[in-house]
Symmetry: C2
Subunit: 141 residues, 2 copies
Amino acid sequence: MNDKHISPAEREVMRVVWSTHPITSKDIFEVLKDKTEWKMATTKTLIGRLVKKGVLTTEAVGRRFEYSPAVTEEETIKESSNDLLNQICTKKVGETIYMMLEDSTVSVDDLKALERLIQKKKQTAPKVVACDCVIGQCTCE
Amino acid sequence: MNDKHISPAEREVMRVVWSTHPITSKDIFEVLKDKTEWKMATTKTLIGRLVKKGVLTTEAVGRRFEYSPAVTEEETIKESSNDLLNQICTKKVGETIYMMLEDSTVSVDDLKALERLIQKKKQTAPKVVACDCVIGQCTCE
DNA sequence: CCTTGTCGTTTACACCTGTAAACATTACTT
DNA sequence: AAGTAATGTTTACAGGTGTAAACGACAAGG
């Protein structure tokens, strides 16, 4: 099924492919070798796993392959974000996003976009978010 | 070292302990058993790992233990958030936070707090965030 | 044609994670 | 005092992850 989970090491490979595709394993390795210090073999393993999972597509060019992404970076980031936010009480999601923004450097335009989003969300935002935790698993009670 | 990484299953246990402490393994199990369907044995294993990692402290009460957290939930959420955001181009952090907010339900007060934070951040926000990616790993170039 | 390099595939292996049974010890019950 | 229940500790085991060597097949060079 939707077993498209991408590990951190695999994501390094994907980022290269998202940036440039189609691309050969050699070229992926060239981009990553300084950053990661991986051996070619390591890159090959990760590519293999990504292909098997179906998040990389291959196109045969002669005897070799060229790789392209089968999922977008956004999709996968969204998935990872959900994995994170689903681990905390719905009531704490707001604070969590706050902390993230607080600790991040974002551009003026990003801030403006966020501002607009906030204006829009204000129209439908609840006074208080319902806590959906099991009793005993958070302090909202 | 600072090897305080908490896995999703371990976090389930921590959330119970953050909510109520000191607490016994029995009571942790009681809170989780409906949600997770874990056997007592599973809970015990996770508690053991958390204690070994030093994120749970124990206090002997007679022959038994009572557990308390040695780290705050905030700390651990911050760590997980960083793990996520560090996997994407600095330039895309803004959009990522945007997506998260877009997909989340947050309260009016949360939105107000975010608004204030944005006002504050606007004073020092760069026109454009510098991309720190390795060349070939993102499309900012 | 034989050698060598290249690239995909297989195999390797240790550590982490989810899930749990088995075991040891002690406290409680009869 | 002996059996039983509760609880911490050990052991188990499959699947994921990071890291990489070994293998096999083909292409290019000599």
